[in-house]
Symmetry: C2
């Protein structure tokens, strides 16, 4: 496949110098009329060329009958004609020099096979000409800085977007419009907005990458239903993180994907939405569960401050509100650390009845003396060491007079701390709220939502500071590629994994009882004997395993019994003999796994074994490949982690060896992604010193 064009190729889409609208209408509420109306209303600075077979004048502009009649190639072509007429027009324009096309028309891949063929032709046109195509079946886009809104959403009827630092991309036209309306209602400035429709060319990943590179975009919002190209998606998100631009994403379909999960145990776990969760967490994306949460975090992020600490100072005029906000903080993993002792003493001296630890409560005394807000806020800013202060003022700013005085009192406190996050929880008119926002405060009505938004900002801060973390380790030089299409026996699977840096128990293959004894003598007693046959996957069930053999005589007897069992139970199996391995005792059983997921091939899983896996589904996921940092995070994430960390008076186990194995497995799985269906390292025993795979299975395609 040819490499994708870079994000500069999307510039003609967002900043065209000239635009033509194919299927233009004189009626400003029609699909071909709205874009012309919006371009005119917005003051688009370049020429607007309506195209309509009837010619004449459209919304006051001279119209052209065909693309070919235009005075030149429009840099961007907007298409609102039936599907059958789309391809020829786009091809003609692209060949004349058009660099971007936005296709509203439906009737493509979403409709039927004929539509799919038409869409395939669009893909070819884009690839051949380099013209970037949005849609088909999309609702268009806007760039509010350019007075440019080629879209037929009715949501601009109530007001054009306010320019600002947010870039939004949506795979749903209707929900994308809904999100834009909510953002505008909330006075959130949005620079660019784009709906991707059928994504024949420009998709969510392209758009996120463009926003990551666009200097005017500082916050990226995305509504996603599914992605197809994991590497470009992950790459775009990593690009945004590197540029320290927060990505807030709604990925819907949690429950639907869950319901449609495949039947097999492994697949049903990996195929569910938890893999999206893992991927987005890895990339530092805030995954919003609800629209409100999305807008809260986007809104808070527009302030451009992402503290690395999650310590929050809370100031209220009601003890109840303080308790409630402290509860919310605990729920969202925010640290309501106490004020330094000296600062507490200073506040106590100002107001003896005040609570000064954190949450700080100025009490109702504040109503009599607003200088308390100044003194308290300044002290907390100067000495608290918090990532932000959240202050609760109930409906006080609803009264213009007291609202104004409160703003002054705050201004005095914050004059030397303009770069700090101040979050106000208050009920006020939209106008008063905008006055406070203009002064640099974030304003929320609900204190719990304010705390949640701060938690998200601090997570961004930590993600930006951490970056991608330690890189995946190099694939060992001697790593053997996994053969395609082969059935791999236990010994082969373990040999492959060992070559990739996953520690496996040493073992020998014995064709005879005496070879088994010799191997046991070398490895040291007690040993385990296991049937070795690519045709026998479930060894225990056919009596193919004998544990804890203490001496040569026990090995000899066991060898004979195992082969007899195997021949009886599986007469047709090709038998290599028995594997001889030292008996591994003690330690904790874990499971390392690799599975395929439609979106994020391959995915690495980490489980604790036994009831943790079977009853509690105590598992965590990561997208391969990853480095030690992510691997260590996986280890700490499972519910049973205390068992690895010295719970119940047991010794602490070798978590580092475990993490190294996970990272090595992720690199190996990624390198062999096209041939591996699944890898199951079970059990992988973690001991006080070291860790070792005792059994393993690799399924290939």
């Amino acid at each position: 496949m040819p490499s994708r064009p870079g994000s500069e190729s999307l510039r003609p889409l967002f900043w065209p110098t000239s635009v033509a609208v194919l299927g233009a209408s004189n009626e400003p509420s029609r699909i071909g009329g709205r874009p012309i109306r919006y371009l005119k209303e917005g003051g688009f600075p370049g020429p607007i060329w309506p195209i309509n077979v009837k010619g004449g004048t459209i919304q006051g502009l001279p119209a052209f009958k065909t693309v070919d009649e235009l005075p030149g190639a429009p840099e961007c072509l907007i298409v609102a004609v039936p599907a059958s007429a789309v391809c020829d027009a786009v091809e003609s324009a692209a060949k004349r020099g058009t660099r971007a096309a936005v296709i509203f028309s439906a009737g493509f891949a979403e409709a039927d096979e004929a539509g799919k063929a038409l869409q395939d032709r669009l893909v070819s046109i884009s690839a051949e000409t380099g013209c970037r195509i949005v849609g088909p079946n999309c609702l268009g886009l806007f760039n509010s800085r350019h007075g440019y809104a080629p879209t037929f959403t009715a949501s601009l009827d109530h007001g054009h977007p306010k320019p600002g630092v947010v870039g939004m991309v949506s795979q749903s036209g209707a929900y994308g419009s809904h999100l834009f309306v909510l953002a505008r209602d909330r006075n959130i400035g949005m620079g660019c907005w784009l709906t991707t429709g059928n994504e024949c060319d420009v998709d969510v990943s392209d758009t996120i990458a463009y926003f990551a590179d666009d200097p005017a975009t500082k916050v990226i919002a995305a509504y996603v239903e599914g992605i197809k190209d994991r590497d470009r998606f992950l790459g775009a998100l990593e690009r945004a993180r590197a540029a320290k631009k927060p990505v807030v994403m709604m990925k819907v379909g949690r429950s639907a994907v869950g319901a449609a999960a495949a039947a097999s145990h492994t697949a049903s776990l990996a195929g569910t939405d938890v893999v999206y969760d893992a991927a987005l967490k890895q990339l530092g994306v805030h995954r919003a569960e609800t629209t409100e949460e999305m807008l809260d975090v986007v809104y808070a992020a527009t302030r451009g401050i992402f503290p690395e600490t999650n310590r929050l100072g809370i100031v209220t005029i009601s003890g109840g509100a303080g308790v409630l906000m402290a509860d919310a903080a605990e729920r969202h993993g925010v640290d309501v650390a106490p004020m330094p002792e000296a600062a507490q003493a200073r506040l106590k001296a100002i107001l003896p009845f005040a609570a000064v630890r954190n949450p700080v409560d100025t009490t109702a005394q504040f109503f009599n003396d607003m200088s308390l807000v100044t003194e308290f806020t300044k002290t907390i800013l100067a000495e608290g060491g918090y990532g932000a202060i959240a202050s609760f003022f109930t409906a006080i700013p609803r009264n213009r007079e007291t609202g104004g005085r409160l703003k002054e009192a705050l201004a005095k406190a914050t004059v030397d701390y303009r770069d700090r996050l101040l979050i106000l929880c208050m009920l006020a008119s939209p106008e008063m709220t905008q006055e406070y926002e203009a002064a640099g405060y974030l304003c929320f009505e609900d204190p719990s939502r304010a705390v949640a938004a701060f938690a998200a900002l601090a997570r961004f801060g930590r993600s930006f500071a951490r970056g991608a973390g330690s890189p995946p380790p190099a694939l060992p030089v001697g790593a053997k590629p996994i053969p395609a299409g082969a059935a791999l026996g236990e010994a082969e699977a373990k040999a492959l994994l060992a070559s990739a840096g996953v520690p496996v128990v040493p073992e020998g293959l014995a064709g005879t009882a005496e070879e088994a004894v010799a191997a046991a003598e070398t490895l040291g007693y007690p040993v385990v004997l296991k049937i070795s046959s690519a045709d026998i996957l479930h060894k225990t069930e056919i009596g193919g395993v004998r544990l804890n053999l203490a001496d040569a005589s026990a090995v000899r007897i066991a060898f004979g019994e195992i082969l007899a069992c195997a021949r009886k139970e599986k007469p047709s199996a090709r038998i290599d003999g028995c594997l001889v391995a030292p008996m591994v005792t003690g330690g904790l059983e874990t499971i390392l796994g690799v599975v395929h997921d439609d979106a994020f091939v391959p995915v690495v899983m980490f489980w604790l074994g036994g009831i943790f896996a079977e009853v509690l589904k105590d598992v965590t996921f990561r997208i391969a490949p990853f480095g030690l940092d992510e691997a260590r995070a996986m280890v700490r994430e499972v519910k049973g982690f205390p068992l690895l960390d010295g719970a119940r008076g047991k010794p602490k186990l070798d978590q580092e060896a475990l993490a190294q194995a996970l990272a090595a497995l992720s690199v190996y799985a990624y390198a062999n992604a096209d041939r591996v269906r699944s890898i199951d390292v079970n059990p992988f025993i973690v001991r006080e010193k070291g860790a070792v795979a005792v059994d393993a299975l690799i399924e290939t395609k």
Copy 2:
């Protein structure tokens, strides 16, 4: 203690025929001025008597100099004078016949010891005269149906409450005012509102009980920081449930209580907020985490429809919104069950491109033809079998013309289904929203919050239908009371529990080795021997336990060894001999416990044993006493429940025997609540048939 007066005694508080304000002020924004202003503004129908030492005229009303000068006893006295002047005035009024007093004044138990003494005097006055007292240190109350608002909250400056079916009680004055403002902003009608202050007499429980009995109150909202009398609190909540009135409660202090938890393992678990969770869940209360959630559920409950089914029909004009709402449904335990096949076919016939399973999507076609809303909604109402329909219409009702047409289209669909819950998710002006609400719809902006509110209504519906569930079993006739102050050995503890109906392993006490052998012969081998001494609690640690003794000789040796160990390790212990019990094998180890919690003595805990208790804290709580229904729910609630239910190919265990033991233990603990500190039945082994306590410990006070 004398029995508390019934809720009719609060009537003079909410519906007085005459009111006096002590400490009345001519200044309508002062603490003694606001209540007079609000009473006048509200049109309070009875006489209003200002009392001020200066006499004269106050806000146009003739003032009196003392309580004694009043023409009669005011049915309710409002008090806004310094603390030192409060008691005499209240006593004087109460003796003349005043039935209720509301005390704004601070400086009582919240301040210092002298204040505490004043408050104690108020308690006596109330008890002696029967005058019900609210406060001191409270913000007052209102009854909007009576034009009656004796409060000094500034929140009425922006508008008086709209009468309605909600009754609200708050332990925080400031946050109670905040909640009222939010409710008024949202057009939620509130009949009564009361802040309890220091609760010298009238408390949250009294007020909830009053609302439960008050025919005009249909929805109860409460903001709670802590309760003192568990029986009255639980009784009031049960009364509300019996009256089918939903209670929505914010209980704050989750994190604070957590942080202040006592040091000991058991106490730190029981003393935390999870016990409130358990109590409120038992009583069918909706515990709201955030203010928004509280108001959402209160708002939704005002419709007065509480479906017993949690099946939700979803109709949208955007596929994306449908997926998002289905996700929210899964998160909140709501069942997005598919439409019946026949109904699906009918909808498909109307609109072939529509999604018709559930969520149902009318697609953008709806914009062209609003009769689709009528047809789809009617079909889903008639044939879906849902507890409610939630419909997503984005900003359509923001346009007056389309908003009006949509309302008509819905009216046609719902004309025969006025008693059904219809929830609209839409962006509209407050006026348009109120028009829809007047037509009987619930309106939400955020679809996820709409789904969450429906989930709460359906939980209320199930709680009302279920009621209190099966009653606690009777305490067995032969149940022996737990002796106070005694140290109880294992044998005694088990004997007590056995008398209370908790099955314990049969055992005998042997003073000599030969008695031990005789007991073992009777009980059957293999047996267990354990040291029996009230002075030795941790038997295993001193070598006082021997398991799996297979014959008489083994018993004899073990007996000698155990006594030798005990005498060596604990020379001063009084030793009764050894307990002999059959060795219990197989089954699953669980733990039944009873602990004290400050608010909810006694609390019963159920754990799975081993790592489930020690690593995963897999525990569930209930307030004692309770019946089999709650006990069964406890059993099903722990994460490890699959282990009791046949996981990993093991047999299903006797959950009913386990539930019976839990219910019996709860009844026994409650009957002995004043003498028990804790009970620990560990392990309690659940087997395929039956269950049995193998060890137990009772700590007394």
